[in-house]
Structure formats: C-alpha cells, structure tokens
C-alpha cells in the first residue's frame, strides 16, 4: 500500500542523500551553536525543493501532498527535525498561492519557491495560541496602507525570514471573521524582530517574537479579502499538519531504527537485549504505531490530493503521529539506557524534537477537538 512511484522514489532518495550528507553530520554542532544553516535552505532552493507543493507556474515543484509527505518523512528519518524550517516556509507560501493576487505571486511567491526568500507564518501571540481567533494584533487601513500594532510569539524562522505572513484583526469585534492576513517584508517600518528564544530542542531553527509598532504594510500586501484571513490560516495549517505528521513519522522511524540496531548489539546477561521479550514488545509497539502514523499521514495527504476536506484527517494524523513520536522516541532512549541519554547517540535529540511536534501547528488537544467537532456536527 502507498508504494512510491518511480518518481516519488527518486525524490525520496535525493532528499535522503542530501539530508544524510549535508545536514545530519553537522546538526549537533548547529544545535549547540544555535545556528540556522541558511545555506541548506539556499541549496534546497536551487534544487527546487523550497516550493515543493506550489504550482510550477510560480516556480514550485507542483508535487502533490502525498509526495511531499514522503519526501519530508525521509528527511526526518535522516535528520530528525533538520528540515523543520520547510513546512513553516510553505505555510507562509501556500495561502499566497491560494488567495494572493497575481502581483503578490510574481513578486513574493516566486522568490519563496526559488529559495531566495525564506517565509515565516505569524499567527500565535503571547495570549492566543490554540484559540487563534483571540489574536489581538490589529491592522487599520489608512489610505493605501494598513497600520499594524501588536505582538506575535514563538514564530518559526523569524529573524532569518525575509517574508512574514501575518494574521491581524481588521475587525476586532468579530473574532475569527475579523482576521486578515498580510505579507510583511523584513524591513517594513515599525516591524521589530525579538530576541532569539532558547528552546528545549531544534535550536538550529530560529524562533523569535515579533512586534509591530505602527508597522506600515501596503494595501497591496493583504492576502485575500479583508476579514477572510482566518480561512487562509486554516487552509495553510491543514497542509502543514500533513507535513508535521510526516515529519513525526520520520522521527519515530529514526528512533526505532536506532533502538533496533542497539538492541541487537547490546549484550546483557550473556545475550543481546533483543532476545528479551520485554524489549521485543517495546519494539513491536514502536513499529506498529510508527506504521499506523505513516498510514494516517499518507491518508490525509492522498485525501488532500483528491481535493477532499481534510480538517479531521489532517488533525488525527498530526495528533497520532506526534503523540506516537513522543512515545517511540522516549522508549528508544529507554532501550539505549545511559547511552540513550547522551547527545552522541541522537535519540535524546529526537525525543526533545518530538515534544515540539505535539505542540506546534495546533496542540494534540486542539487536534482532538477538530476531530470531535467533525464527528459531532
């Protein structure tokens, strides 16, 4: 089931090779230095991977979400969170493709697909995360420009990105139906990037807050209709949840691979620990849940490619795959014991990275809510 086509296999192999050679050997050092490897984004841009799911008309790869999921999963198998900047870059690009004007696509989208401009998706605020409709950043139209005021927090790629897709209230009395989205360039007047956050993991990806102080954005940079920005945010998140589910599946697979090879080599009481049934059952559960994650991620992806509504499918895939990644990586650390806790053995990094995936792009709890809402409507 879901056997890759010849082309999909070539894309998977290419990403696997790239990730293994260019990212994996350096990632621990980048993490320790808190360094974002911009050259990796640049290189992936040259190779046509920065706009994988965007139409070829604007320089994208024109790939379906199924292929996208397979490629991201392979990247995660080889590097854990090493490609973590990419789904968020695409989350900023996708609404521009879907709802933007021709001018916006020509001016911004083509740069994003070519890897000439890194994107960031700015929705979360200090007091509004899961409850996205409660955002406070405001945008007021004055003549031919909007003036933005407010703050965003935990924005992936912030500080490194050239383009920010920012959600702000254009009608503060209206909740979700009062939100619009805007393309903000990094040097827009009144746009301030905050300090780099120190995180539990993924320190090779920049996370910062943003502040808007009378920040001026041209009217032409509003993406989609006024007060319809929530729609574009949710649209981006559906696709991006598939990406997170696929990445989580890859992290589970990577941790499982490490646990299996360790269990076969590590001797205790005169035999490999893989001979012990308690280890076998742990591995069997890890494998089963990893495969189930993959199936849910691929299911959501193929439904998206078929043009079906995927809110629930993407939500359950994201929730199951990331919760699984947390369990599988935790158990991988357990199986590797003391070695598992050491940075040299990588599984501890996977464990720290899995935790983030349960939180970003809608927490596991919010995903549960989305699934239940569909079920009970």
């Amino acid at each position: 089931m879901f056997t890759p086509t010849e082309e999909q296999q070539m894309l998977i192999d290419m990403m696997g090779k790239f990730a293994e050679k260019e990212i994996a050997p350096n990632i621990l050092q980048w993490e320790e230095e808190g360094k974002f490897a911009r050259h990796i984004f640049d290189k992936l841009g040259e190779l046509g991977f920065c706009g994988m799911t965007i139409t070829e008309e604007y320089g994208g790869g024109g790939l379906g979400y199924m292929t996208y999921a397979m490629v991201l999963e392979e990247g995660a198998i080889k590097t854990g969170g090493g490609l973590g900047f990419l789904p968020l870059h695409l989350a900023a690009a996708t609404p521009i493709e879907a709802f933007g004007t021709k001018e916006q696509k020509e001016k911004y989208l083509t740069k994003m697909t070519a890897g000439k401009a890194l994107g960031a998706f700015a929705l979360t605020e200090p007091n509004a995360g899961s409850d996205a409709a409660a955002i406070m950043t405001s945008a007021v139209l004055r003549g031919d420009r909007y003036v933005l005021n407010g703050a965003k927090s935990f924005i992936t790629n912030a500080g490194e990105a050239e383009l920010y897709l920012v959600m702000a209230k254009t009608d503060k009395d209206k909740g979700a139906n009062g939100i619009s989205s805007f393309i903000v360039e990094k040097d827009a007047p009144g746009f301030i990037v905050g300090q780099k956050e120190k995180k539990m993991g993924l320190n090779y990806i920049s996370t910062r807050g943003l502040t808007f102080e009378e920040c001026e954005v041209p009217l032409a940079n509003r993406v989609g209709e006024e007060n319809k920005g929530f729609l574009s945010a949710m649209y981006a998140l559906d696709g991006s949840r598939i990406g997170v589910a696929a990445s989580a599946t890859g992290i589970s697979q990577a941790a499982l691979n490490a646990a299996v090879s360790y269990a076969k080599q590590r001797y205790a009481f005169g035999q490999p620990i893989a001979n012990f049934q308690i280890i076998q059952f742990m591995l069997a559960d890890m494998e089963t849940e990893t495969v189930a994650s993959r199936m849910l991620a691929y299911r959501a992806a193929s439904m998206k490619d078929e043009g079906k509504k995927i809110a629930a499918a993407a939500a359950m895939a994201k929730r199951y795959a990331t919760d699984t990644a947390m369990r599988v990586t935790t158990n991988a650390v357990q199986i590797l014991g003391g070695y598992g806790y050491m940075k040299e053995y990588t599984v501890e990094r996977y464990m720290r990275e899995a935790k983030l995936l349960q939180i970003v792009e809608g927490t596991s709890q919010i995903q549960g809510l989305v699934v239940a809402r569909e079920l009970l409507k």
């Binding site: 070539m10 790239f18 046509g48 790869g61 790939l63």
Partner: protein
C-alpha cells in the same frame, strides 16, 4: 562535445551483504541498488563538459531492468538520453563480456569522450574501462582527477595522482577516461530534473539488437571464474597492555610488537 558515460548499478555500500548458498554470489533480495560512486564522478564531469562546450550526454548501462533506475538518476542529474543493454544471456558475464556489450552499444553513437568509473565498488575488478577502450580502439586515461580540454577541442590533458605526485598525461579525442575520487563533487538531482527524467529517451537493447552472439556472454563464457566468496575474517579481540607505570607499559608494548605482532 558528445560524451558517453557508462553506468554500473551496485549494492549500496551500506547494504548488508549476505553470501548465497552457492558460495559464489551474493543474496540480492534486500539490497538497495545505487549508481557506482566512481561512475557518478563520470556523470558529473560529463555534465560540466556539456555545460562548457555544448553537445549531448548519453548514459549507457548493462544489466537487468532495475538498471533503468540508475540510468534515470543520471538523466535526472542532467544527462540527455539513456541506453540499457538488457538480455537474460548477460547474467553472470565477466568484465570482458560487459565491455564487449558496451562497445557494441557505443559504436554506432557519436562520441568525443567516454567515461567509466575507475572500478565498480562491488567486485573491484577495474577492467571494464581498459577493455572498452581496447574494443573501440581509442586511448584510455585511467584514474583521472582533473581534465582539461585543449582550446582546439581535439585533445585532453588529464591528471592522475601517483604516490603523492601528479602525472599529467595527454591524449587525442576520442578518448576513454576512468574517473577517480577527487575528480569532482557530483551534484544532486534537482526536483525539476527528476520530474523531467521520465520524459527523456531511454532505449533498451538486446544482444541480438547489437548484433552480438549470446554464446559469448553469461557464466559459461567467463574467462575469469569466481571460485568462492568468503566473508572477511571476524575481528579478533584486542589486547590491553598492563603495567604499573608508563615505562613498564611502553616496555611491554614494545615487547609484544616485537615478539607477537612481529612488526618491529
């Protein structure tokens, strides 16, 4: 400038190699197949030459249907067309027979430069390049890490590393060059390259198509026969040198190196 690159599909060096029950072959069931890394240097160099001088890059492979994957990889990197010589009678052929099949496939093509890897990383024979040059009656420059094409486009100057020195050799075109590690850093196939690869021409030919006699190929026709494949010997345990002081340990180590290992 028209360039031909010969490709061999080999097991990924990370594959776990298991010896078959006949002790003369390996179990191929779970093997991941990849392009021979030395051939990849050839593909990259051919693409660079094409970028500089124009022309076409044709990749030629010999082997079963799965070799098309390797040919497609080269097409995705930027080669223009592919030829696969696929015939059941080829199974079990030795290097000379493979070179003969390659020569027959290449002869009708136009070429200025032919690349092969300096050797395949599977059986490490290193014969095909030389044999192919011989069959085609052209000069061969082996183990090359640098190539310069003369301004008039009629000859090449190539560098071969020799014991820490560099030997610079020259040959008129057409020429066969075997690629050595260090020649270049092969590119990754780009996403558009991969999507275009399927639309590029890939011809498949049998021995009969090439006017070859099937009896000269396969296991029975081997000039070099594999008698047995054995795994490398298992590594023996290490020895910990004991002693109270560094001086004692050094003395003990020297004694062991002299009397047991017999290296000093």
């Amino acid at each position: 400038m028209n360039i031909i690159v010969c490709l061999k599909q080999v097991p990924d060096t990370e594959s776990q190699i298991k010896i078959g029950s006949d002790k003369k072959s390996i179990v191929t069931d779970d093997i991941k197949w990849v392009m021979n890394p030395y051939d990849e240097f050839g593909v990259e160099e051919a693409l660079r030459m094409k970028e500089k001088f124009g022309g076409t890059v044709t990749v030629v492979g010999v082997g079963p249907k799965r070799v098309t994957e390797t040919i497609r990889t080269a097409l995705a990197m930027g080669a223009d067309k592919g030829v696969l010589v696929n015939d059941d009678a080829l199974n079990g052929s030795d290097s000379i027979a493979i070179a003969k099949a390659l020569a027959a496939a290449i002869r009708p093509l136009e070429y200025d430069v032919i690349f092969t890897g300096q050797r395949g990383v599977d059986d490490d024979m290193g014969v095909v390049g030389a044999a192919l040059a011989e069959f085609l009656g052209i000069p061969q420059l082996s183990l090359i890490i640098k190539i310069e094409v003369a301004e008039d486009g009629k000859s090449v100057k190539a560098t071969r590393p020799v014991e820490g020195q560099a030997l610079i050799i020259e040959a008129p075109l057409p020429v066969l060059i075997t690629a050595q590690k260090g020649l270049n850093e092969p590119r990754y196939a780009s996403l558009p390259g991969i999507m275009k690869a399927k639309k590029k021409p890939l011809e498949e030919k049998t021995l009969a198509d090439l006017g070859l006699n099937a009896g000269e190929f396969g296991s029975a026709a081997r000039k070099v026969k594999v008698l047995e494949i054995t795994p490398p010997p298992e590594r023996g345990g290490g020895k910990i040198v004991t002693g109270e002081t560094p001086q004692e340990k050094a003395a003990e180590l020297a004694k062991l190196l002299h009397e047991e290992a017999k290296v000093i």
